[in-house]
């Protein structure tokens, strides 16, 4: 081989077509934005129609969005949208639901305990692990400096 690894990687970089960044960003922006608008709409409805207070709305909206994410994943539609939307479907909490539901459905054939239940958080688990740990770390700092008292 006449190439060193670095030379080859540089050459591959040149040879490989890049992603269409602008187009991808635009689609992600629009789809992601629209998903948030759906969330906003549910929030408004919960407030106006069901008379939920601000605090309860903040809990009810994520639950609703997780439900919708799970439903659209199950209906085999979420990944079809994600193909175009990229981060637009990844970043909203519906994407988190998709990451939980997709392995749950997929590993059904390996059984409900070691398949569905065990594999459910293979993709989404890291979000919980790092999210919760960071929040505990934050809490420790917060507590140590006596903000809570």
């Amino acid at each position: 081989m006449d190439y060193t690894k670095q030379e080859y990687l540089d050459y591959v970089q040149k040879k490989s077509p890049g992603s269409k960044l602008f187009r991808n960003m635009l689609v992600a922006f629009v789809v992601g934005g629209l998903i948030c608008v759906v969330g906003q709409a549910f929030g408004e409805i919960y407030k106006a129609v069901f008379g939920l207070n601000e605090e309860s709305v903040k809990t009810a909206v994520p639950i609703t969005m997780v439900f919708l994410g799970a439903l659209f994943t199950g209906l085999n539609l979420y990944h079809k949208l994600a193909k175009y939307a990229g981060a637009g479907t990844l970043v909203p909490i519906t994407g988190f639901a998709n990451a939980v539901v997709s392995p749950a459905i997929e590993f059904k054939r390996e059984g409900y305990v070691l398949g569905v239940a065990a594999k459910m958080f293979t993709i989404a688990g890291p979000v919980l692990v790092y999210g919760i740990n960071t929040s505990i770390l934050l809490g420790l700092i917060f507590y140590a400096f006596g903000f809570g008292k």
Binding site: Y11, S16, T73, N76, Y78, L81, A82, S102, I105, I123
Partner: protein, 338 residues
Amino acid sequence: MEKRLGKQTVKFSKAVSLLSTAAVAGQKEAEGPLASHFDIIMENAEWGEDTWEKAESKMQKSAVGRALQKAKIDAKDIKYIFAGDLLNQCIGSTFGLMAFDIPLLGVYGACSTMAETMGLAAMSIDGGYSDLSVAVTSSHFCTAERQYRNPLEYGGQRTPTAQWTVTGSGAVVLSEKGNGPYITHFTSGKVVDLGVKDANNMGAAMAPAAADTLAAHFEDTGRSPNFYDLIVSGDLGTVGKSIIVDLMCEKGFEIGENYDDCGCMIFDIEKQDMHAGGSGCGCGAITLCGYIMDRIRNGELKNVLFMGTGALLSPTSTLQGESIPAVAHAVAISAERE
């Protein structure tokens, strides 16, 4: 040692004949330009089974069954089956071929498996250990995707260099008797790794190994690229295809007009939105067993060099941050005896 040519090539002294071939293809492949050359089309990914893994086993079973039927050979006369697939521990082959009750030799060469099993099967015949051997391989989009990447329902974006695992299985019956086409040479490849880590750019990862084997074949046999009517690689895809042409040029071999890649041939890449093209053991296997063999049989092609290209990554090696080693094996197929 007159059977050996150079470092990596064997030249068969017997007339190892390809008695018959059969190709089983999935839906997407059947929507592609080579549809009319496949023997069996699956109506869906499950194909009447409970799991995709079982469907893949059924594909191998059906491919071998159809190939035997076409050759009018009874399974009990086959001495060896050389088989492999992409699944962990090759369960596609072992579960699927159990029923034939023939000694089974499992082979793992990732997507290079078709060329590797054909080469080994031809060696078993040329060595005098067998008069009838079968080579078979398969890949299934759904089983490969869930093993190597993400669940099917997971929303992800494919990059432009990503390839699509072909759902298909190809089988070949090889015999010491028969009127061809013949396997004349087998060049086995070395594992080559130039440091590509992107599992969505397999073509770039495999091209150096493919160029290495191709150059070895030409050096060992003394043939030049234009000896062949068609030089065809298994699944380099559009990116790998353009890279290998450059790499070969730098090694002093011009491959151009007579070179193509099964990953680019099997799909209508634009219309079927296949990004960089097809991949998987089945990609080369059904393109060879269906389309290319049809063209050899009807006289359009006389000398073909078929090279399977395999990326030797595993989900574990990817997670551990390793780059992607690759290997390529080539078999020379000729319509006539020299």
